[in-house]
Each structure stands twice: as C-alpha cells, then as structure tokens.
C-alpha cells in the first residue's frame, strides 16, 4: 500500500510493475534518487544526459497540485537550458521586471529588475511549479527515447534504508507490495520532511518564523499590469503585508500575511478567502479560486549534505522561507553541482573526494539563501519593538528619501552562489580581470555573433580562450575538455570583453561542467590548465 499524501495535477509516471520486484536478490543500481519533485527530476535529467544510469523513486505518480513555487530565476533557466528544457519554460512563463511597493494605499517606490543587456534569459519568469516539473519530465521522456539511462518509478515509496560500506539497501513499498533494491549512491530529494533524513536520524535545525501566510491563486481576466505588487499595511490587510503576482493562464498569486494567532480553519473557508480577495482586487472583478493554502515557514539546514554514499539535495537538505524565491532555485543549483561530480566519479573514475565538494559548495549556497530569506522574514515579521521601530522608520523614510530604498526588504531575489573559497578553484591568475568572473563564479552570459555564450558551455569542462591563440586539444585524466575560442569579431556587443577581459587583451578560462569558473589566466599555459583541471576534479586535496 502506498498512501496518497496529496492530489496530483498531472499524472506523469503511472505505476508499472518492474522485474526488480520479482528477483530473488535485490538488483543494484548505480544511482537511486528518492523523490521526483523538481530537484529529483532535474538531477535525473542531468545524470541521464551524462550517461549515468539513474532510477527515480516517487511515492506518487505525478506532479502535486498547487502552484507552490512560481518565480524561477535566470540561473535556473540557464541550468534548464543546459538540461534541454529552458525553452518551454520561458515560452509558457510570464516575464516581469517591474516591482511596486505600497504602504497603505500609496506607492512608496518601484523598481525595475532591469536585466543587464546581453543575457539570453530574463532575470525571472513566473511559472507554476507543476509546469516546471512537467517540462523536466517531458525532457526526460525525450532523453529516454534517445537512449538516456533514466528510469522513473511512480508509486514507489521508500520505507527503509540501510547504508552499508559500499552501497545502500532500500525497502520500497508499491501497490503490488514491497521489494528491495540496492544503490551504489543514493540521492535524497524527498522534500522538506525528507523521510530519508528521518530514517537516518539526522537533524534539520534552524528557525521557525511565527507567522502565517495565506496563498490564494485566483483566475481572473483583469488587465492588471505584469508587475509584482507588494503592500505594507494595506487597507485590505491592516497591519500586515500582501503580494500580488501574475502567473500564466490568467492565474494570479495573492499572498496575505495573517500573523501568528489565527484560526486556521476559519481562514481557509472559501467565503472568507473570497472576501479577502475581493477587498484586495476590487468587488467588481470576477475571479475563481484555483488553489489556496496557509503556510508557515522555517529556515533550516542539515549539517552535512553528504553522509557516505547518501547525498541530500533540494528541500531535503535545506529549507528557506518563500521570500526571494530561493527554494526551488537554490535546489536547482544543487542539481547543477552534484550532477557532473557524480558523473565524473562514476563514469570517469574521478576521486571520491570530489563528492565532498558538493557539500562544501552547496552548504555555502544554502547558508546564503537562509541568510537572505531570514532577513526578509525579519523585515516582514518584526520580532520585537525595536525591529518594528526600524522597519517603520525605513518605510517612513522611503517615501521621501531614495537612500532608504535598499533597506526595504520584501524579498531579495535568488542569485546564484559564487564558490569563492572552493577547493576546486585555482588561484586567480587574472587578478585585475572582472570581479564577476573570478574563480568560483557562475559564468555570466553574453551575446555572440551566432547565439549566446552559455549555450556553448556546460556539460563538460571547457577551456574558453578569448583573444588568445587556440590552446589546442586536451584530454586530462579520462576527461575530454572542450575548447571554445572567441575573437573580437564574435563579441558583437563588447559584453564578452566587459565580463571576461576587463582591461586585459586576452584571457583563458577553465569552466566546469556546471558553468562555474574554476580558473583563469592571461595567457594559455597547457601545464597550468592541466593542473587546474586536476584540482577541479580532485575535491578536497588542496
């Protein structure tokens, strides 16, 4: 028996009985992923595209209903481009740039995310999480058809696990009863309440925020602008905050802060919610409630994201408040980080220590996300009179003085993490190069004469030579290295020079398969490149 814990929006991987269920001895799989949410599916796609056989086990047979995540950041779209499913997301998604902040009924300021020119992807799109997951699964299906070794098993609930010296044993429940299998590596992507984490008795510590937020996703055809609108102390939700944001399909996200002491059941009554909505959007506008939910939030993380052969990714490893859209966006960076490392170890015999760097780099990313989303929560939910005093002082000032704008915190939107102190980085040999491309940084995109830079990077180590001689070919420790040479004529807008050269006439970059920069130099030096690749594959041995 596999319990149904939530309703599904789309059935994507119906249960099918497989041979593993009837074999006398458990079948061994190279990688098993527990949980087919966005993070598990993203990882399966990444691994499968690199030819690493992987099996996804999910206790449901499709994508859960409810929009949940709606804001997907540029870095996530770039990762999805690398995985092959960025286009349907951006085609379906709503692009937005303008945000307005209101206090009471007055607009106190507005901002334009003003995406820097010369990036293929916008700063953000709004897209309901079920679509995001659906597009990942559709790409998995295409890759499977092309031979990628990915398998998804729906209604396979992991009920027990046992870590041995060189593998993990899993007990799985299905509609046809239980079976057992083994995994060389296990990746737990089983969400914030991670059963894997619980089975291993591992802690998940952090802060619980004493506040409730009501989400009402409504369908309406009002021609409100495609902007993010945020209110402090609006007449329709006195003393609290509210948010309005557009999604595809004429669906709008309304978010009402409710405070801590509430009658949850009463607040969730459709009539009560409809009254709130009408007070917000105007009584004359017709709407339909699509999804409603009350959430409280916490910012928590595990101590270690690696335990032997078990890795934790996404909400299972870390959870943040929704402010800043750092949950799924942060989790997709886990995927980006772990995918190539597992592939390097499993397919190319890279040292196991490389896998330790997954924890080092992604814990740093998670702590950054927790810091940012906790600060927003502190601004929205003042915890003592001094917090409230300064919050209100900021809001008082912002109407009159521009300097106060950066202090208003209604969400610091997700940014990719720069792995500054990573053991995989080589010392910066282009110290006067642009700061944004120092070792550890995610590569900034740039337009080229024939497309965009990021579309030419990723999946494998790449030597990027700008304004320099062709560095020739490399194969280092079983790892084939791509080479991309760019000259001034490729750099049609000058963005490559600004982002990668600064004042230098030439530069050589070593770029990891996840499009993060491992090393850079002014000139090509084959020995230096070899050493940098070795270091980026070696993990901890600094």
């Amino acid at each position: 028996m596999v319990a149904v814990r939530y309703k599904t929006a789309f059935k994507l991987y119906p249960y099918e009985k497989v041979a593993d269920q009837d074999v006398p001895a458990p079948k061994r799989h190279p990688v098993v992923i527990v949980g087919g949410g966005p993070i598990g599916m993203g990882l399966a796609l990444d691994l499968g595209k690199s030819g690493v056989p992987c099996l996804v086990l999910d206790d449901h047979d499709g994508v859960g209903t409810g929009s949940r995540a709606i804001c997907f950041a540029k870095r996530t779209l770039e990762i999805c481009d690398r995985l092959g499913c960025g286009d349907p997301m951006v085609d379906k998604g709503v692009v937005w740039n303008v945000g307005r902040v209101y206090r009471d009924e007055r607009e106190v300021y507005n901002f334009n995310l003003l995406p820097e020119e010369g990036h293929k992807r916008p700063a953000f799109i709004n897209l309901q999480q079920p679509y995001f997951e659906q597009f990942l699964v559709e790409e998995i299906r295409r890759q499977q058809a092309a031979g990628a070794p990915i398998e998804i098993r729906g209604k396979n609930c992991v009920t027990a696990m046992d870590q041995k010296a060189d593998h993990v044993v899993l007990d799985i429940d299905t509609p046809d009863g239980p079976y057992r299998l083994e995994a060389d590596y296990l990746v737990a992507c089983d969400g914030a309440n991670s059963p894997t984490r619980a089975m291993m008795g591992l802690d998940f510590d952090g802060r619980v925020f004493e506040d409730n937020f009501l989400i009402a996703d409504i369908k309406m055809t009002a021609d409100f602008p495609t902007e993010r609108r945020f209110w402090f102390d609006p007449p329709f939700n006195r003393g609290e905050t509210a948010l309005l944001h557009k999604q595809p399909d004429d669906v709008w996200r309304l978010d009402f802060q409710l405070g801590w002491d509430i009658d949850r059941e009463a607040e969730l009554k459709p009539e009560r919610i409809s009254d709130r909505v009408a007070a917000m959007i105007g009584a004359d506008i017709d709407f339909e409630l699509v999804w409603t939910s009350i959430y409280t939030f916490r910012c928590c993380t595990m101590d270690d994201y690696r335990h032997g052969r078990v890795f934790f990714a996404g909400d299972a490893a870390h959870q943040v408040s929704p402010f800043g859209a750092r949950g799924a966006n942060g989790g997709m960076q886990d995927v980006d980080n772990l995918g190539w490392k597992l592939a390097a170890v499993i397919n190319d015999g890279a040292d196991d220590a490389l896998l330790d760097s997954y924890h080092d780099e992604r814990k740093l990313g998670a702590m950054e996300n927790i810091k940012n989303s906790s600060r927003t929560a502190d601004f929205l939910t003042p915890r003592n009179p001094a917090h409230r005093l300064f919050r209100d002082a900021v809001l008082d000032l912002v109407e009159h003085h521009a300097f106060a704008r950066p202090l208003v915190n209604s969400g610091r939107l997700s940014q990719p993490c720069t792995y500054d102190a990573s053991a995989l980085n080589s010392p910066d040999a282009l110290p006067d190069g642009p700061k944004q491309t120092r070792p550890g940084s995610p590569c900034p995109d740039a337009p080229l004469a024939d497309g965009h830079l990021l579309d030419k990077l990723g999946g494998r180590f790449t030597v990027l030579a700008i304004g320099a001689d062709d560095p020739g070919n490399f194969t280092i420790a079983n790892t084939e290295i791509d080479v991309l040479t760019l000259s001034a004529s490729d750099d049609t807008t000058g963005a490559v020079a600004t982002r990668y050269l600064g004042q230098n006439p030439s530069a050589i970059y070593l770029i990891r398969p996840d499009q993060h920069i491992a090393a850079r130099w002014a000139k090509c030096d084959a020995d230096a490149i070899n050493q940098a690749v070795a270091r980026a594959l070696a993990g901890k041995t600094k």
């Binding site: 002082a393 900021v394 000032l397 300097f403 106060a404 202090l407």
Partner: protein, 69 residues
Amino acid sequence: MTTLNTAPNLERADDFYAALLSAHDGLEEAEMHALNARLILVLANHIGDQTVLEAAIEAAKIPPPEAQT
C-alpha cells in the same frame, strides 16, 4: 575614513545638542522613538562605511554598570 572617530569631532557641540533636543519638542514618546530611529538611518546612510557603522554600533553598547569599575 575607515575607522570610527570617537574623539571630539562636533563643530558646535552645544548647537547640535540643542537642535537634537528641540526636534523632540511636542512629540509623544512613540514619535520620539520613531524620530530617533529615522535619524539613525539618515546618519548611517551618510556614513556609508560598514566597518565604521559596526564600530559605531559597538561603541554605543555601553557595558552594564556591574561590568564597569
């Protein structure tokens, strides 16, 4: 400037102090607190330097009486 100046630095100390007090004339207590909070933010922005601001926050934390000798 990257260090906090705790030596006397006010051009006209008594005039500043008088201006500070008179800004509070006629205010309710809550309004006084609000004014001071805004004033801190205005001054902090003018200073701008995070190191100096953190030193200023520390300098403002006078040790409790029992810790003083």
